[in-house]
Each structure stands twice: as C-alpha cells, then as structure tokens.
C-alpha cells in the first residue's frame, strides 16, 4: 500500500524532517486560498499515487493565487495519465499547494529492503530529480548504497560515506546526517517497504528539505499500523481492489476475458500464464487463499463478474489444506449467491478430489469439469474465443455430468 505525497510529507514533518510549507486543496477556490496563506509563489501538485506526474502536467508552478487556482482547475476532477498510471490514468481529487523552495542541489535518497542481502538499505545519488533506474542506467557509479545491519542503526561512518559521495560538506552534511537518522526511525516505526525522497533539496542556505515523498507500507504490518492501513485502503480508487483488500483475497485486474479463481499465488500466476501461452487472456489474477468458503468464493465471483469483458471463468484449485469437497460446496453456493450464469470451467485436483467432483455433479450446475490443467485451460480459451456467449453447455455432455461419470 502506498501513501499520497501529502500524507507522507505530514509524517516526515512529524518526524522532524523539513518539508515545504503548504496544504492540500480540493477545489480551485481552495487552492487560491491556500496560495494566499503561503503569500508567495507556489507549486501545485496533483495527489495521485502514480509517479512521473511532472511530465504529465501534474506539477505546475504558480506565481499568484489566481494562477494556483487555474492550475488546480486543470487537475482536479480529471484523470492524469503518466507513464506509471496505465492508460486510464489516475483520478485527481486533491492537489497539494506548497511554497516554492530555492534549490541549490537536488539529491535522491531512499530507504528500502535489499531482498538478496536480507537487510534494509539506503540508496542515494547526487543526481536527484530523475528516477533512480534512469540514474543507474546513465552511470551506475552515481548510485550510492549502504546496507544497514538488522537491528542496528546507520553508523556515523556510513552517513559520512554517503555525505562525501553526495559532495555535502559543513552544515549541509550535518543536516543530511540528521535527516538520515530521522528517516530510518520513521521507516522502521511505520513498517515501510519504501521511503523515497526525490528530490531531496539542498537549499541555498544549506538546509535539507524533502520536496517530494513516497511511502510504501508493508501490507503484512497493517495489523499494527491500522491508521495508516485504513488511510491507504481508502485511497485504493478501484472498487474491486478495495473489496478484495477488505475480504482478504489477492486480486489484480488484467485486460482479458477469462476470469480466474485459483488457490495459491504461484498457481494463480501460472494459471494466467498458461492461458496466455495457449492464446487466451485472463481478466484477472485471483488467489482465494487457503480458507475459501462460500461467502469468499461468492465475493470473488462477483468481483470477476464486474470485469466487463469476461466471457468465462476458469476455476483452478489444487486441494491441499483447502479440501476439494469443501471448495466444491463453497463454489456451488458461491455461484448461486453471485448469480453467475456464464460458462465455468473447473479443474479440481488434490485432497478429496473424487468427493469434490461428486458434489459438483450433483449440483446440477452447468460446470465444465476437466482434470488436466492444459485441457481445462484450452476449454476456457476456446469458450472465450467464441464470438458470442453460449449459455447452453449441455449438448454433447460437455457439462460436468458425463465428465464426473467418466472419472469414476
């Protein structure tokens, strides 16, 4: 989960890290008022989670309150398409109106996790303002890294190494050391997965000011970071993803026409992959998890039915902890609850498979049951490729009745 810039900055300010003066505004008039409070030239920034806003017109300088209002009017209520937002863009509901800062230098600074080394790491560069990948691509030596031993802090020598590498001296170096220390504390206290300040400005007066802030939170820590988790969840603009987050399943929109219900993340990814491999396109990624009951399955099916292009649903379950018979009962109840009346291909193997299949047969629902992964995926791909939806699947015994009879 990610926080909006204004939320991240308010947390930085709370931790004693300098940020520009300013506040959010929800209308052009409000932006005008915010600019008057600042009483000087401002910058108006669209509050969306996707990066690369500047190039997409999401960051505008305004010399007067009238200009600030005009900038806000051009952003609020629109969708901003950036290279990171996807083609639909992110809706802008609020803007951040901030004082302009006289910048001497722009640095890059981030705290994140080094998965290979299993530790937290600081990444810094003197070439702030650009994306870090861009900096690394131009000159890998321009990216500085310091690993932090789990449980210990950032040592003074590490702070000195970074400051030297960034070309900071005197008061600026001192301010940088303090900023590092405060940010690491914040990173840990909030269970961040990412805390990125880009750019981190060095002002003409050798102050260190965070001009932007990106905070990603560790989803697994939501139970002990409730306030933040709730805030971030409210910011999930997509209703389906919000619902998934609420009921505790993993759901990702894709742009195809085959809905997917799978247990386990690896198998769910593989299911999407095999559909693509066979020429089909999944409408979604969905891991229902180990404890999928009828309510959860119904909720999952409802989410899939909201995908506009869906023509069929592919259910791929490998029974382990989640027994096939329990899942089959949940599926039948879920199909009825959700009122799903499109073709459903079911592949159910593993613990209590035979019992599960019997339950599917006895349900009388027109489910297409296939044991083999590739055969099942092919069926789903074939149905999705048909020109129009064909609700009647019974001719030729394609529905589960004969399938189950054949499988003893």
């Amino acid at each position: 989960m990610n926080l909006q810039e204004y939320q991240a900055k308010s947390l930085l300010a709370g931790a004693g890290v300098a940020v520009p003066r300013g506040r959010i505004a929800t209308s052009p008039d409000d932006a005008d008022a915010a600019a008057r409070e600042i009483d000087g030239p401002v910058v108006v920034k669209a509050q969306i989670l996707a990066g690369a806003r500047g190039k997409a017109g999401g960051i505008k300088l305004a010399a007067t309150p009238e200009e600030a209002a005009a900038a806000a009017a051009a952003m609020i209520g629109r969708h901003l398409v950036t290279i990171q937002s996807g083609p639909k863009g992110d809706p802008v509901e609020t803007v951040l109106v901030e004082e302009q800062i006289s910048i001497a230098r722009e640095l890059f600074l981030a705290f994140t996790l080094d998965r290979s080394l299993g530790c937290e790491t600081v990444i810094a560069s003197a070439s702030g303002g650009m994306e870090i990948e861009e900096i690394a691509a131009r000159d890998p030596r321009a990216v500085l890294r310091e690993s932090i031993t789990p449980g210990s802090g950032i040592w003074p020598f590490q702070a000195r190494t970074l400051a030297t590498g960034l070309g900071l001296t005197g008061r600026a170096a001192q301010a940088f050391h303090e900023t590092l220390r405060k940010l690491l504390t914040l990173f840990r206290e909030l269970d961040c997965s990412l805390l990125e300040i880009n750019p981190l400005a060095v002002t003409a007066h050798e102050r260190i000011v965070a001009l932007d802030a990106k905070i990603g939170l560790d989803d697994n820590a939501a139970y002990r970071q409730r306030l933040l988790a709730d805030t971030a969840r409210r910011d999930i603009t997509d209703p389906v993803e919000r619902e998934a987050s609420r009921i505790g399943v993993s759901y990702v929109h894709l742009d195809g026409n085959i809905g997917c219900v799978v247990n386990g993340a690896g198998l769910a990814m593989s299911t999407v992959d095999i559909l693509a491999h066979l020429g089909g396109h999944a409408a979604n990624f969905l891991d229902v998890g180990g404890g999928a009951d009828s309510a959860k399955i119904a909720a999952a099916l409802r989410m899939i039915l909201q995908e506009p292009a869906v023509k069929t649903i592919f259910v791929n379950i490998f029974g382990g902890i989640l027994r096939c018979d329990v899942f089959a009962q949940g599926l039948i109840a879920g199909v009825k609850l959700a009122g799903a009346n499109l073709p459903i291909v079911v592949r159910l193997v593993g613990t209590n498979r035979d019992e599960g299949r019997r339950i599917l047969t006895d349900s009388g629902l027109p489910l297409i049951v296939e044991d083999d992964l590739e055969a099942a995926a092919r069926r789903a791909v074939a149905i999705a490729a048909e020109p129009a939806r064909s609700p009647d699947l019974s001719p030729g015994g394609a529905a589960c009745g004969s399938g189950v009879a054949g499988g003893n």
């Binding site: 299993g118 994306e131 789990p150 840990r188 990814m269 593989s270 693509a276 193997v349 613990t351």
Partner: protein, 313 residues
Amino acid sequence: MGILLNRTSRVIVQGITGKEGSFHAGQMIAYGTRVVGGVTPGKGGTVHEGIPVFSAVSDAVRETGADVSVIFVPPPWAADAICEAAAAGVRLIVCITEGIPVRDTLLAVGEVNAHGARLIGPNCPGLISPAAAAKVGIMPGSIHMPGTVGVISRSGTLTYEVVHQLSARRLGQSTCVGIGGDAVIGTNFVDCLGLFEEDPETEAIVLLGEIGGSAEEEAAAFIKEHVTKPVFSFIAGRTAPPGKRMGHAGAVISHGQGGWAGKAAALAAAGVTVIENPARMGETVAAWFASRQAEKPAAVAAKKPGGRKRGGA
C-alpha cells in the same frame, strides 16, 4: 534420503493447540513423521491429541530431543517463535505462517543465523522427504512418492502441481522444499541447490521461481558454477503487470526489476531447461529421464546402489 530431513528427525509443533497446528500435527503423524511434542505458552504439562505440550521450546527440546520445529503461530508472534526455537538449539526451523511483517523477519533471520540454525520460510508449505516418511509442513502427503527429483519452490500450490505431474509419471521426489513467498526468507534457492548437488539420492532438480527479487538470477549464477545435475525451471508470472503484487508479498516487479524475461534468460544461460507451459513440467522432466535411460542404461544401473530405491520407475 534427500536433504535436511531424515528418518530420525524429531519434530515439535509450535502453536500445536491452534486450529492449523493441531490439524497439521495430525497429518504429519499420519504421514509417518516423528512428532515428539508441541509448544503453546501457558499450556505446558497438558497433552494434545496424544502429543505432550510444553510451554517453552527449550523445555520441549530438553524433554524430547527435538531437532526440528514447525511453526503455526499467527503473524504477530511468529518472529518471536522463530527466535525462541533458534535460542533453544533447534537445528531446522520451518515457519509456515503467512503475513509476518518484513521487519520482524529481518530480525528473526539475524537471530537464526547467530545461533547457527536454519530457517525455512516464512510463508511456505514446508518440506517433505518421502523416502524418510518425513513431512514437516502442510503439503498433501498423498501426492508425493519416494524418488530422485529434488524440488525447490517459492510457492505452495504450484509445488503440489509439479509434484502431481511428477508422481503421475512415476517420478518420485527426494525432498521438496517450499522456501516461501515472502521478500525475505531464511533459506534460498542457492542453499537448497548446494544441498541437492551434494545429495546422492537426488538425480535431477526442479526449481519453481516467480517474478520479484533476484533469487532466480542468483540461482542461475550458482548453477553455472556449482551444479552438475540437470535443473528444470518454471517461473510463474510471465504475464504479470509491473508494480502489482501478485498474491505473495515478494511477487512484484518493481522499478523494472524482477521480471520474467531476465530470470528465464539467466537460467537458460546457466544451462537450465526453462519450461514455459506449467502443464508440461512433469512431462519435460520425464523426457530427460527417458532419454538418459535410453542413452546409457548400463551406466545408470551400475551408478549407485541407492538407484533401486526408485522401485517402479
């Protein structure tokens, strides 16, 4: 006999009185695993479904001689459970729990390393060595059979899928290790590859990776230098969109890093057979065994006495 477990492994279950711990303790015993005790703080001295329960891991180790622990403790207390096991001298700690904050895992891995123990997981199905009748985890025992294919995976049900495909072709497994789907885990591909390379019972290795991080690239570098046995790999998430977390905490392509193509290319360059269709994993491994059989049947038969253990193969 496979890696990490053997017939004399003595297992305790942390969180045995909980729903998951209780159920899976029973399943492990039914498979043949020597479950010698359980731990739930405050419930020491009781007996849960025939298994003695202790309040502390150190008590359990002292009384039962346990050298392996499997953890079914909820996320807020799981890191503590890992550290307690490490401090009590448990050699192999298997953490099934999903949803532990990364910061806790970082600290717990540090403790485990400091005690010279090994952690499998967290967020994993555990491990199983069919020939040793040892199952320490939540995988369905019935799909496994003894054999010579070593399996290492970041996933749960995808591992069951490949095992299902292998067993259907009478290709048994030496050991299957689910290393876990989190961003930080105790034991990685490289550790397991090294163990499988040394294991005389393992003839071929299946490595199930997924998008996110660089564990597959690191595995590829290791394989190139140190692994002589054939390695087969499927990487899940080829079609995953960047920036989206695909179920597992660790399965996300971030800032252009951790994508399928880089992993597949690195593994292929290391001589690994990269499988693109997840329905053909078992078939691909079986084809290698068949071609080897056809090439030099005499050499294989004479290779090692353990070969007869493959029974019906």
